[in-house]
């Protein structure tokens, strides 16, 4: 009896070490042969590439340690694009593949708790002294923190890879603004465009304005002043114009005329102060609320009972994130309409950067060219994944109806329309909105500044602080995040 606990612990230990034995065969007995099972279909190359600890094994298979392509990502989006669309990629398992004689290793670190950037920072800072097979070749970034990486020597200029401006002529300019460093050098490329529009609830529009025609609705939200007047009308009819003030933030912040940081001093753009002013008025009038994006309360307007008039977002929002596949939702009934809204903006997107010191520059160049400029591959991405690709030729063709598409299970080719948007073809609108977008006013501190600004102002909107207190809080928060920045002195 008394030995029971000890024996249980012993059992646990034995079980665990047995499990360790199977789980980690590559680590524990890299040289030894027959621990089949787990890795049989993976093949020798995969096993070698899979574990850095398996030095003995990898030396045997990869004769040239430079022939390892290390790609750092935070989710599987780019990986599945490569797997599905890049010619010559052979998948071995979830984090390994090959292209020709090069082994591809995906290093996936989720972005929660800033883990992705922490990991990437450490790797890049260590790039010079890293073993050849561990050198990072490519990494992905998001718009909010792109400049943090782009504006350093750790990222390679695109032109150094041998990619010319002519190659990139079909891309949307804004996608290049985001990854152009302070000297005007382009250092990253994206296969996506994420131009945003305003999606409005057609039923609500008919009820309040007696029309759901995009052109008519556009007149009601043509600029921020009319937008705010419309908000009052909607409020009287029982609707919130948008679910939260955070919905419009992106639209204002994409249209700033100055940077967040100028000469090491924090600078709040006039357009952002206008957001604060407009938002405070809307919240005080009860025309909208201060919900966080993606919270349950924010999402309630995906359904008619939520009584939300409009959401701002790109194609992916309405296609995949607004419950269009669920009975009873507005999207399910094709009840959304799309119009440009007060100002153009974008939301989302992923950029590919080449790391300085890559030993596979040619392959990196080829992946970038194929994924971000090749018409055939990019059309394929639109058809298969419903992505909005970063290619004017492809998108204009689809927008005008010149290019027809045929998806799996469809009997004939047809023009690109959206069932969710009541068979409207929104592409011309997306294309128009993004064309005039000027994003040259980005700084390397945007992620922190945008986050903290919204957080701080929420206190003001909710009545927990005066505007001055909220601004003070913002400056404090920035000083903590970016110790090198200073608050403006009046």
């Amino acid at each position: 009896m008394k030995k029971k606990i000890v024996s249980t612990m012993l059992c646990l230990t034995m079980l665990a070490s047995m499990a360790a034995g199977c789980g980690n065969d590559a680590t524990t007995d890299a040289g030894a042969t027959t621990d089949a099972g787990a890795t049989t279909d993976a093949g020798a190359a995969g096993e070698a590439a899979g574990t850095e600890a398996a030095d003995a094994g990898s030396a045997a298979v990869i004769t040239d340690p430079s022939k390892v392509l290390n790609i750092y990502v935070w989710n599987e989006e780019f990986k599945s694009r490569i797997e599905d669309h890049y010619p010559g990629y052979t998948k071995i398992d979830a984090t390994n593949g090959t292209i020709g004689d090069v082994a591809v290793r995906w290093n996936i670190t989720p972005s929660d708790d800033n883990a992705y950037q922490n990991n990437l920072d450490a790797t890049l800072l260590n790039q010079e002294s890293a073993a050849q097979e561990d050198k990072i070749d490519m990494f992905l970034v998001e718009a909010d923190y792109a400049l943090k990486y782009v504006d350093t020597d750790y990222t390679m200029p695109i032109s150094d890879l041998g990619i010319t401006d002519a190659d990139l002529s079909k891309q949307y300019t804004y996608t290049q603004d985001i990854v152009t460093d302070s000297n005007g050098v382009l250092k990253g490329l994206s296969w996506q465009g994420c131009p945003g529009v305003m999606f409005y609830n057609r039923e609500a529009a008919k009820e309040v304005f007696n029309t759901d025609d995009p052109a008519e609705i556009q007149k009601l939200v043509a600029d921020w002043d009319t937008f705010n007047q419309t908000a009052a009308t909607l409020k009287d009819a029982g609707y919130s114009i948008v679910s939260s003030v955070n919905d419009t933030y992106r639209v204002y912040s994409n249209n700033v005329t100055s940077k967040w940081v100028e000469d090491g001093v924090i600078n709040i753009d006039d357009n952002l102060m206008k957001w604060v002013e407009d938002s405070k008025a809307l919240v005080d009038a009860g025309a909208t609320s201060t919900y966080d994006l993606w919270s349950d309360d924010w999402k309630k307007g995906f359904y008619p009972e939520g009584k939300v008039f409009a959401y701002f977002g790109p194609a992916w929002l309405v296609n995949f994130s607004m419950a269009a596949d669920t009975e009873g939702s507005i999207g399910y009934n094709g009840g959304w309409g799309a119009t440009e809204g007060p100002q153009g903006f974008f939301w989302g997107g992923t950029w590919i950067c080449a790391a300085t010191g890559t030993d596979n520059a040619d392959l990196v160049k080829d992946i970038m060219l194929k994924m971000t400029t090749d018409d055939a591959i990019m059309t394929d991405i639109v058809v298969q994944d419903d992505d909005f690709v970063n290619n004017k030729t492809v998108m204009d063709g689809l927008a005008s109806g010149a290019t027809k598409i045929q998806r799996e299970g469809e009997s004939e080719e047809h023009e690109y329309t959206s069932k969710i948007l009541g068979e409207q073809n929104p592409l011309p609108m997306y294309c128009a909105g993004v064309d005039g977008l000027d994003l040259s006013n980005l700084s390397a501190y945007d992620q922190g500044c945008n986050e903290e600004f919204q957080h701080a102002m929420k206190n003001y909107f909710d009545g927990n602080a005066t505007l001055d207190e909220a601004l003070e809080l913002f400056y404090t928060a920035i000083a903590e995040k970016y110790p090198s920045l200073k608050a403006p002195t009046e």
Binding site: Y149, T152, D297, A465, Y482
Partner: protein
Amino acid sequence: MKNNAKAVRYNKWGYIFLLPFLLVYVVFQFVPTVTTIYNSFYENYLDGLTQVGPNFVGLENYKSLFSSGDIWTFTKNTMVLWIMCFVPQIILSLVLGAWFSDVRLKLKGQRFFKTVIYLPNLIMASAFSMLFFTLFSDGGPVNSILMQLGFISEPYRFLTYTGSTRGLIAFMNCLMWFGNTTILLMAGMMGIDTSLFEAAEVDGATSTQVFFRITLPLLRPILVYVMITSLIGGLQLFDVPQILTNGTGDPMRTTMTLIMYLNKHLYSKNYGMAGALSVLLLIITAILSLIVFKVTGNDKRKG
């Protein structure tokens, strides 16, 4: 003389038994700890990908910690949250422990109850708070129940008021950890010789008397443990408020704890400020722990 020699021979085993702990400790924790203290005297952070410092700045980091006064606000927040969560937790745990150990009460289904209380701790804090967000949202079930019962006429926005935000944090933290505390106390109560209780019953002592005269005094070492670790845990309160307020400590940083503040500095790998804050935290914890030790009596071993 003989005895002494024997003792010495045995006592070398003290060192042998300590060896694994010390070895692992030195390799994996001692070095980072020393660098933490060392760093607190340097300016040392990442500006984007550019390393700034390390430059020796003396007590500059400590000065800037104190100059803003925020540190006291966050210390106060942390203590308030700890008390809000610890007091109900320790009372509940002691009461449950007393009931479970009370032979006269003869509670049925004890094993079930004892098992159930720890279960909330098995849920990851991040998953737990996902559920809290759903339940306490404006359109969530808690609000709709309250509105149906007529307590409120429009949704109560739990996370926009200091009181309710702190309340939710304390509630969630308490739920996650009271089982832990109860189990610790119960394990301690198990160490008490049951014949003592039987003897007390024969002597006609009431349950209350048994609890205060027998259980509590014998439980003292474990209680000291619970107090101290809870105090340390309380001062290091982090994940629940961090996730529940999305790292902001909203409204207006009234729920920002010391470690959340520390975490802010780690964003830019600001080892200097983080180091200074840690040293300060260490000092505060040490002082408070010392007080607990003193109040609960000296830690002298009984023969």
